[in-house]
Amino acid sequence: MTENRLETKNITIGYESDLIREISLSLTAGRIVTLIGPNGCGKTTLLKTVCGLLREREGVICLNGQDIHAMRSKEAARELSIVTTASVRPERMTCREIIETGRYPYTGVMGILDDTDKAAVIKAIEMTDTAEVADREFGMISDGQKQRVLLARAICQEPKVLILDEPTSYLDIRYKLDILNRIRKLAKEENMAVLLSLHELEIARELSDTVVAIGNGKIRKIGTPKEVFTESFIRELFGIKEKEADLLGQKPWMGTDPSAGVKDPVRKHGGSHTDSLLISEENMGAEQTSGVRVLMVQGTMSNAGKSLLSAGLCRIFTQDGYRVAPFKAQNMALNSYITADGLEMGRAQVVQAECCKREPQSCMNPVLLKPFSDRGSQVIVNGKVVGNMNAAEYFAYKKELIPEIKNAFDTLAQTSDLIVVEGAGSPVELNLLDNDIVNMGLAKLLNAKVILAGDIDRGGIFAQLIGTLDLFGEEDRDRVIGLIVNKFRGDQALFEKGRTILAEKSGKKVLGVVPYLDIHIDDEDSLTDQFHNRTVAPFDIAVIRLPHISNFTDFNVFSQLSGVSVRYVTSVETLEDPDIVIIPGSKNTIGDLQWLKGNGFVEAIRNLQKENRVIFGICGGYQMLGRKISDPFETEGPGKCEETGLALLPVDTVLEQEKTRTVFSGSIENASGVLSGLCGLNVEGYEIHMGKTTPYDGADPFTDHGTGYCSGNVYGTYIHGFFDRKEILTGFIRAVCAQRGKTIDTGSVQDMRDFKEQQYDLLASELRKHLDIGAIYDMLGIKRRASKISRFEEAVQSCDPDADQNAGNADQITGNAGEDIR
C-alpha cells in the first residue's frame, strides 16, 4: 500500500512573496503526515496550496499522478477533501445539510441526493457518531461536535486524500482524542492518505507516520516522529528558551535526546493523559531500544593521550560498522580547521571525524579557544568568532554556552549510533569545577560512560589514576567504566603487577596498557612531543618555533619522509644549516615578529636567504616575510600599530577585523626559484587569517587569487595544507634536493589523505591489540553478534586494509533500561 496519492514536486508557496520554498512531499495511502512549526510559518498556506485553494508559485502538485490544476474541480473533489480552521457559520443550516454538501461532486445539476448519496451520508454520520446532532442546527452545537460534523462532511465526500488544518484547535482533551482517533482510523481502515497540521507536539508524535517540521521559510526536517522530536530541535524550531519550558512540565519531546538512551519516564508510566489514551499497541515500546551511546575519554592531565585514544576508538567503532561521531565541547588549541561550510573547529576533532570516515562538522567541537597571549583567547562558538576574552570574562560567559553545546551534540546524535567524547585537561581541576562543560559536567549532561586515561611516560601513574578517581564525587566516580594506562614504553610484562594493583585500589577495570605509539597524525595543540626533536637528518627542515605558533600541522606531512628532519627551532643557536626554513602561522603575528627580531632570527634568516636557501612563510609567517604589518584596528591588542617585517617579499599586510575563512583550490603558477618546476600542479588547502596582503609592483604571485607571492627562493602563502598533496611534496623536496645536491627517497610518499587513512587503521589495530574493546562494548550496553566479531578480528589479524568494509552494518544496540539518571 505505498501508492502515491498526493505529491508536491519542489513547490514554492506564498501569497505575494515566497513563504516556503522547495517543498517536496508525498502522501501515500494509509499514512498520516503531520506539519508542525511555529505560528505563521506557513502550515495553513501549504495546506491551502496542496488542496488547490491557492496557486503554488513554482513547482507542480500531483493528485493521483495528475496535475491538480489540470483536473476538473469535481474530479479533484472526489479525490481530496478538507477540514479547515476557517470558522464555518452558516445560519439556519442543520448538521445533516452540512454533511450532505459533501456529496456535491457526485450529485446532478439540482443537487438531489440519490440512494448511493444517502447511504454515504448515513455511513459518514455513523463513522463520526453524529447521528444525535444531525438534525440540530450547526450553530447550536459544541465546537467538538462541530469538528465531528465537518469531519463527517469530509468523509462523505469519499476522498482518497484527507487534509485537515489544525483539526484539534479549540477542542478539549476528550474531543481532541476523539477526532484524532477517528483520523487514525480513517487512515488505517479506510486507507486514506492524511495530511494535517497540528500544534500539539505530543499528539503529533503519537499520531504521525511522518512529521514535517517547517520554520524559517523552509522545510527544516522530514522524518519519523522519533527523528524530528528531539528536545533541542523542537526548542530551536519554536525558539523556546531554557526557562520558558518550565511551565509545560515534562513533555514527551523533552528528554528524548538520544544521549538519555531511550528513556522517557512520562510515556513509560502513562503519565500524560493525552499519551496514555492515544498510544495503541503499535506505538508502544516497539522502537524504544535504540538511541545514541556516549563514551567519554578523560585524561588525568593534559597530553595524556585523550585525542589519540578517542581517534583510535572512533576508528575501531567505525570499522565495526557503527555510525560514530567525535565530540569535544571545548577545545583550547592553536590549530584550527575550516569546514566545508567555512566554519572553524579544532583539528583534533577533524582527525577523529576522519577516523569516523565522515565530514568534519563544527558541531563536533562547538567551542574553540585559540589563545593569543598568556591571558587572552579568541573565542569561537559553532565555528564563528565571538570575540576575544580573558580568562575571567570567558569563565563568566561559559554558562551561556551550555545550550549551544547541547544543540551541537543533538545535531550529531541524530546521525550517529555512538559518540566518542573527548574530555579536556584534568577532570578534577577543583577550582574550576563550577559550570564544567568539558569533563564530568558534560558527561552528566550527555549521560556518558567515562574512560580515564593516565600517562605513564610522565610517571606517577597510580597517583594520576587513583588520585583522580578519589577526587571525583561519588556520582562522577560511578560514571567511570574503566582505566587506561597510556604511553607505556618497554616490556608490558613488567607492568602486570601494576595492573593488578590498579584494579584492586581503584575498583575499576583496567581496560588496557597502551604502548607509546609512533603514529603520525595531527596534534591537538602546541604541547606536543615533536617540538622536542633535536636530531638533524641529512635533509633538514627548520620550523621557527614562534611563541604563538599556530596551525603547525602543516608540517606533519614531512614526517613520512625518511632522511628528513623537521625541527622546531626556538633560538638562532639551534638553527644550524637547514635546507628549508619555514616560518609558520601565528596567533599574534606582530608580537611574534618582535620576538623574531629580538632573538636575532631576522639576521639569521636574511643570511640564509643570501645563500639562496628556501624560505617558506605560511600565513602569519608569510605576513612577517613582507615589508610591514599594520594593525589599525588593534585586533592583536592595543599599542602595536605597525611593525616592519623581514622585507624578503615585496608585500604589505594590513590586519583586518574580519576573518577570512575559505577552502582553497587552485594551482601553482609562475613560481620563481626552485618551485618553478612545480608550475601547473594543483593545490588544495584552506585559508584562515585576519590580514589582507597587497603586493608592490614586481611581486610575483605564485598561487591563484593573490594567496601567495614569491621572490627568488622566498615564498609566502596563506594556504594551509599546501604540502599535503603527494605531487607537491615530492616535487618540492626533489627540487630542493637538486638545488642542494642531496638525494632523498620520495618513492614512499603518499597523498596526505592516504597516509592518514593508513595511520588511522594502524592506530586502531594497535588499540585493538592492547585494549579490551569487548569490555567497552559491554559497558556501553552494546551486544555484538559473535559472528561479526570473529569475522572482523580475523580481518584485523590478517591486516586486511579493507577490513572495515567487511564489517557490514551496525550491530544491534540493545536497551539498557534502568540506568537512566535523568
Binding site: 491551502k48 485553494l53 481530496l80 479547515t84 439540482m110 443537487g111
Partner: protein, 337 residues
C-alpha cells in the same frame, strides 16, 4: 430543515399573495363596486372608465408589484449569499441608487434631444449604473474585509448618487421634473402592460437561472474553501451572483425607482419563518415574500392617504426598517453567545 414548516409557510405566503393581489385590484382612490370590479376582471364587462382603471392601471400595477418586489427580494438574497452577510441588499449597497443615477442621467440627456427612452433602454441604463456601483462596492470589499465598513461605503455611495440625481433634477426642464421626481422617490404608478411584459421576461429569466444555481449556492454557504474543494466553480458562481443581483436591482429601479429595504428584509423574514437557509426554499421563498411585501406596501402607499399617493419607499422603510434592526440586534446577541 423542517419540511412541514416550509410547506406551511409557502401555503400561507401564496394565499396572502392572492389576497393582496385581489385587494390591490379592487381597492383604490376611485371606488368601484365589488361586483362590477369582479365582472371586469373576469371579462364580462369590457368598457368604461372602471374597466380602464382596473385593466390598464390597477392590474399592471399589481403585476409589476409582484415581479419587481419578487425580483428585489431575490436580488437581496443573492447579494447576501455573495457577501455571506445578512445585512446587505441592493439599496443598502448603493446599487439601486447607482441605477437611479444612470436612469436619471440618460432620461434627461435623451429627453432634451427629444428622444423618449423605452422600457428596455431604461433597464439597460439602470443596469449600467448598477454595475458601476457594484464595481465600486466590490473594490471596497476586496480592500476591507469588514462587513460594517462595506455597508457604510454602500450607503455613502447611495447618498452620493442620490445627491447627484437631485442636482440633475433641480436643473432639469420643468416638463421632466414632475415625472422624474415621482420616479426618483420610488413609485409603482404609471405602469402599462408593455412595461409588465418586459419586466416579467427579465425577472422570470433571472428567477430560472437562480433556481439552477441552488446547488452551488447551497455549498457556498460553508465558505469559499469548502465550496471550492467540493468542486464548486467559485469564479463562475460569483460572476453569476453579481450579474443576476445587479440585473434584478437595475430592472426594479428602471421601472419603479429605488425601493428600499425589501431586498434586505425579505430574505430574513422568510428565513425566520422557514427556519432554514437552504436555497431550495430561499430562492422561491424570497421571490414570493418580496412580492407579498411589495404588494402590501404599494397598497398602503396608494390607499392610506388617498387620493394623495405616498412614495412606496416611505412605506417599505417604515415597515421594514424595524425588521432589519430587530434582526441585527438578534444577530449581535447570538454572536456574543
Amino acid at each position: 430543515m423542517n419540511k412541514r414548516r416550509c410547506l406551511l409557510t409557502f401555503i400561507c405566503i401564496s394565499v396572502l399573495l392572492l389576497v393582496l393581489m385581489a385587494w390591490n385590484t379592487f381597492m383604490g382612490s376611485i371606488g368601484i363596486p365589488f361586483e362590477r370590479a369582479l365582472s371586469i376582471v373576469f371579462g364580462s364587462v369590457q368598457d368604461g372608465t372602471d374597466y380602464n382603471i382596473i385593466i390598464n392601471i390597477r392590474m399592471p400595477r399589481v403585476l409589476s408589484a409582484v415581479f419587481l418586489g419578487g425580483g428585489l427580494a431575490l436580488s437581496g438574497y443573492l447579494l447576501q449569499t455573495f457577501f455571506a452577510n445578512p445585512i446587505v441588499g441592493p439599496f443598502v449597497l448603493g446599487i439601486s441608487s447607482g441605477a437611479k443615477l444612470a436612469v436619471a442621467l440618460s432620461l434627461i440627456f435623451l429627453l432634451e434631444r427629444g428622444i423618449h427612452l423605452n422600457a428596455a433602454g431604461l433597464v439597460l441604463s439602470a443596469f449600467a449604473g448598477a454595475m458601476l456601483a457594484m464595481a465600486f462596492v466590490l473594490a471596497v470589499s476586496v480592500k476591507v474585509k469588514n462587513m460594517s465598513i462595506l455597508v457604510i461605503c454602500g450607503i455613502m455611495t447611495g447618498y452620493i448618487c442620490s445627491a447627484i440625481t437631485d442636482l440633475i433634477v433641480t436643473f432639469a426642464d420643468d416638463s421632466n421634473i414632475v415625472n422624474l421626481h415621482n420616479w426618483s422617490m420610488g413609485s409603482l404608478s404609471g405602469m402599462d402592460w408593455q412595461d409588465v411584459k418586459i419586466m416579467a421576461a427579465i425577472i422570470t429569466v433571472c428567477l430560472i437561472v437562480s433556481v439552477l444555481m441552488i446547488k452551488p449556492v447551497g455549498a457556498y454557504r460553508l465558505g469559499e474553501s469548502y465550496a471550492k474543494t467540493m468542486g464548486v466553480n467559485i469564479t463562475l458562481l460569483r460572476v453569476m451572483l453579481i450579474l443576476l443581483s445587479s440585473l434584478l436591482a437595475a430592472c426594479v429601479t428602471a421601472f419603479a425607482g429605488p425601493v428600499s429595504f425589501v431586498g434586505i428584509a425579505v430574505p430574513h423574514l422568510i428565513g425566520g419563518l422557514t427556519k432554514t437557509s437552504s436555497p431550495k426554499i430561499m430562492i422561491p421563498g424570497a421571490f414570493l415574500g418580496g412580492a407579498v411585501i411589495t404588494l402590501f406596501c404599494d397598497g398602503i402607499a396608494r390607499t392610506v392617504f388617498a387620493p394623495t399617493e405616498v412614495s412606496i419607499s416611505s412605506v417599505t422603510a417604515v415597515l421594514l426598517v424595524p425588521v432589519v434592526i430587530v434582526m441585527m440586534v438578534k444577530r449581535r446577541g447570538a454572536n456574543s453567545n
